[in-house]
């Protein structure tokens, strides 16, 4: 029996690893052709020029929930208001903040409470009031005050209820958006033959970037330990993973940090799941199911350009909290939508996307943990062929290095985001160390998330504390005081991300 079990385990691990490597290989190759094809046709400035003057350019509502964000909310709203797009509105949802988030907004943007005919297309916690600005400069700003719903999903739904345009972008209030990012997103919507129900765009870590007047003035990869790895992880996820899923028509999720959605379809499917821990994946699952049920050809696309910058968790505690929540969320999604997995009715999404996610994303941490335990047992029993072991380990490690290297190259090919060339080479450090330091952490926290879902089923987001971005002048002064020359300070000035949960 033991022998049979061991043989099965051996073959399972070989096929599992081979499948995973093959899928990564396919993704890496396909995504390059996708990125190349996109870049071939329309330049960003051409898109901007034609959309800027057209009366048929669709409007976009930017929905950003805020909960206890008094330190950052004003700067971030200013940054959002600076978006370069002809028709848009910014909807900030004060989700029952206990601090002075609302007061800060009222004071800084000349807001007044206005009588608003709030129509609850999607059920949310009670809406209290709506604020608009008397100042012409801030006429695009709408602030919704509501009772705390405990999740970002509930707050976002309130924003969708107020949204007046056919598309809405869901983001976090602490995110910095590329001022011209909306053009990329809407161009994807307009240039598709099928109905585009959602658009995902590349996100990055803003942890070590410098801000000036609410805009990025100096960008570089995070210098801090955890965000540095996350930067690479995000790049891989967006430029390789999501680009591939978009190409085969089976996008699993559009990031909760930034994504554009069709307002009408989002309302029809009931918006975000109020109790969801993975509201982004949940939303796409329902939207996709709706499109299949109504037999409507649809598309979810991925924009390779960086459109959004966010603060990544910089301490292990917050990182743990974030990844545990993601683990819980993934478990919850499979719990809720298990009937879609391997269901032919849902096309690529049911037959490829969800099965792949289940086998390689959901089961991945479990398989890795079991594999590690077995390896320890074999080492103790001196039953390891060390030559083969090192060869296999090096092959897998080098393969991931290649994927990471290609990813860095793709990013550089799409557009040079970092202020200096050397920062691309800097990314090779996390690429080389990720497998030994960062990856084990993600596995542990994912398992913790699964266990938490099974044992408690608790759906709370937890409180977040932010320090906020440092502005250019502030960062320079502080570093000069620390004995650095102003030039060096400018070069390395960081807008240290506070303790921020994504």
């Amino acid at each position: 029996m033991n022998n049979w079990l061991f043989t099965f385990f051996n073959y399972f691990m070989i096929f599992y690893s081979a499948g995973l490597i093959l899928s990564y290989f396919l993704m890496t190759v396909t995504s390059f052709f996708q990125i190349y094809k996109r870049k071939k046709y329309y330049s960003a400035e051409y898109i901007k020029r034609i959309l800027l003057n057209s009366p048929t350019t669709p409007g976009i509502s930017i929905v950003a929930p805020a909960y206890n964000e008094e330190t950052t909310v004003v700067d971030n709203v200013r940054s959002l208001l600076d978006m370069d797009y002809p028709t848009f509105e910014i909807i900030i949802i004060n989700d029952g903040s206990k601090d002075k988030t609302l007061e800060q907004l009222i004071e800084n943007f000349d807001l007044v409470e206005v009588p608003y005919n709030y129509i609850e297309h999607i059920k949310t916690k009670p809406f209290k009031r709506l604020f608009k600005s008397t100042n012409e400069l801030y006429k695009r700003l709408v602030v919704v005050d509501k009772e705390n719903g405990g999740t970002k999903a509930d707050a976002s739904n309130a924003g969708v209820n107020v949204a007046q345009y056919p598309y809405f972008v869901c983001t976090d209030v602490d995110c910095l958006l590329n001022p011209q990012g909306l053009y990329y997103l809407i161009w994807d919507v307009l240039s598709s033959k099928e109905r585009v129900i959602a658009v995902s765009a590349t996100m990055r870590m803003a942890n070590s970037c410098t801000l000036k007047n609410g805009k990025l003035s100096y960008s570089r990869p995070p210098g801090a330990f955890l965000p540095m790895f996350q930067e690479l992880e995000y790049m891989r996820s967006f430029l390789i993973g999501k680009t591939w899923w978009a190409a085969i028509g089976g996008m699993p999720n559009v990031s909760g940090g930034f994504g554009l959605f069709d307002t009408d379809i989002a309302i029809r499917v009931g918006g975000y799941h109020g109790q969801s821990m993975a509201e982004d994946m949940d939303m796409i699952a329902r939207m996709t199911a709706y499109m299949y049920h109504t037999n409507t050809p649809y598309k979810v696309t991925q924009v390779p350009q960086t459109v959004c910058w966010t603060e990544g968790p910089s301490t292990l505690t917050i990182f743990n909290r974030q990844r545990t929540r993601w683990g819980r969320g993934l478990f919850q999604v499979f719990h809720l939508y298990w009937d879609i997995v391997f269901n032919r009715r849902y096309g690529v999404y049911g037959m490829v996307t969800l099965p792949y996610l289940f086998i390689f994303e959901f089961l991945g941490p479990i398989v890795e943990a079991v594999g590690f335990i077995v390896l320890l047992c074999l080492i103790i029993n001196n039953a390891i062929n060390w030559t083969t072991f090192w060869l296999l380990l090096t092959t897998v490690y080098m393969f991931m290095m290649v994927v990471n290297t290609m990813c860095i190259n793709y990013d550089n090919y799409v557009e040079r985001v970092y202020s200096k060339r050397r920062w691309y080479l800097f990314l090779f450090i996390p690429a080389a160390l990720e497998a030994f330091i960062y990856h084990p952490l993600t596995v542990i926290f994912a398992l913790k998330g699964y266990w938490s879902y099974i044992s408690t089923g608790e759906f709370k987001w937890g409180e977040m504390k932010r320090k906020g971005f440092k502005k250019e002048a502030e960062a320079t002064i502080q570093q000069t005081e620390q004995g650095m020359t102003p030039e060096a300070a400018n070069d390395d000035a960081t807008s240290t991300a506070g303790e921020a949960e994504k």
């Binding site: 034609i50 009366p55 005919n117 307009l190 030559t387 083969t388 080098m398 860095i408 190259n409 080479l425």
Partner: protein
């Protein structure tokens, strides 16, 4: 010793063959997994440094281009600004002189491809900065003539691959550079769909004889949402330069699988205030059975103040639903109709309204319908149940009432 002589007699090439064979047979003795891994590993070891080199070289080339561009900017930006903002029309010779002053070459010396690449980029920046209308068009055309941008782009289009072709066509559009019709027409049926499209668009931009033949005369033309902004951009350019505009009613009547081109054309009639097409639009509004197209036509007729439509609106309203009803109410408001009859109509419409957006539009129309309308509005407000009071407050507040409910 024999062996030694045996090897000694082998030439270098034979020896290497022997060495490779021995490696190969040694290799075959290993398990399959090890062999596969070894091959993959070797490849991976090659890919990583190659990838790093690509990254470094690419960045270096970009940096070099940026440096050149910056240098060119310093040299020509001010000259271009002077020429483009000069209120007097300058001659080609004068423009040539001004440019060659900075260039440090004879005025007749031809521009190299590299120079033109940089100069057109700077010119593009300037054109976008001044937003077309603020520049002296004559002087701008003189710059294009002096640099021979059209000839350079035509050369690129004819000799280079698909990607460069598309870039050149796009550049021609951004620079409003008139290319020969025959150049664009050559690619109007190219197998690459994007190239085909961009060639047709460029043809439309500057052609003077039959510019819209790829929309009107082509059975394979299918309107996509992205065509709207592109066509609008071309039409704006043609309108500003006094070139022939299309008859939008012809576009509306084209056989298209969706209504998108019709809706676009209706919007354009309003945008360009094509008065000669108002009557036709009015007639088409009666003909069409599609509620969305009808609704949009009604809205446009309302916005342009086409009074003849007023009586028809009351008739259509009785059999209309949803979006069409909202459009009719909005059109009556925009027409500025006043009097007891219309106030009474609005009151009945409010009583019948089944949707929130319809009720809000009616209230808005009533509120803006003169003194009688305001009175009726107040009466309705006083009798409205508590749950509906917020509608009235919303309408009355100028900050809140952005008429989003009409969309």
């Amino acid at each position: 010793m024999d062996n030694y002589y045996g090897f000694y007699e082998l030439g270098y090439i034979e020896y290497y063959w022997y060495f490779l064979y021995s490696l190969y047979y040694d290799f075959l003795e290993y398990p399959l997994m090890v062999r596969v891994c070894s091959v993959i590993l070797t490849l991976l070891f090659l890919i990583i440094p190659t990838s790093c080199i690509v990254l470094v070289v690419r960045n270096h080339l970009i940096q070099r281009h940026l440096r050149k561009l910056e240098k060119a900017r310093k040299m020509y930006l001010e000259t271009f600004r002077k020429i483009l903002t000069d209120e007097n029309d300058l001659s080609a010779e004068r423009v040539r002189e001004m440019i060659s002053e900075k260039r440090g070459k004879r005025a007749e010396a031809k521009f190299t491809n590299d120079e033109l690449n940089l100069l057109t980029q700077i010119l593009k920046e300037k054109v976008q900065e001044y937003n077309r209308k603020k520049i002296n068009r004559n002087n701008y055309q003189q710059i294009l003539t002096v640099l021979n941008v059209a000839g350079w782009l035509e050369d690129t289009i004819e000799k280079k691959g698909v990607k460069r072709c598309i870039e050149a066509f796009n550049l021609a559009q951004v620079l409003d550079c008139p290319l020969r019709g025959s150049v664009s027409a050559r690619f109007a049926y190219h197998k690459d769909l994007h190239l085909r499209k961009v060639a047709r668009i460029t043809y439309m931009l500057t052609n003077k004889e039959d510019p819209y033949r790829y929309v009107e005369g082509n059975h394979d033309y299918v309107y996509m949402d992205s065509d709207g902004p592109i066509l609008h951009d071309i039409l704006m350019y043609r309108h500003d330069n006094g070139l022939m505009m299309p008859n939008f009613m012809d576009w509306i009547k084209l056989d298209q699988p969706t209504n998108k081109l019709r809706l676009f054309s209706i919007t354009e009639i309003l945008y360009f205030k094509k008065e000669e097409e108002y009557d036709e639009l009015y007639a088409y509004m009666h003909e069409t059975k599609d509620p969305i197209v009808k609704g949009n036509a009604i809205r446009v007729l309302g916005q342009i103040g086409y009074r003849k439509v007023e009586n028809d609106l009351y008739d259509i309203f009785n059999s209309a639903q949803g979006f069409l009803r909202v459009s009719i109410i909005a059109a009556l408001r925009d027409l500025g109709v006043r009097g007891a009859e219309v106030v009474d109509f609005f009151k009945k419409a409010y009583a019948k309204a089944r949707r929130e957006n319809e009720a809000m539009t009616v209230l808005d129309a009533l509120y803006n319908c003169g003194a009688e309308g305001r009175l009726a509005f107040s009466e309705l407000e006083s009798t409205a149940p508590e749950s509906e009071k917020k509608r009235f407050a919303h309408i009355m507040n100028p900050i809140t009432n952005d008429r989003a409910y009409e969309r």
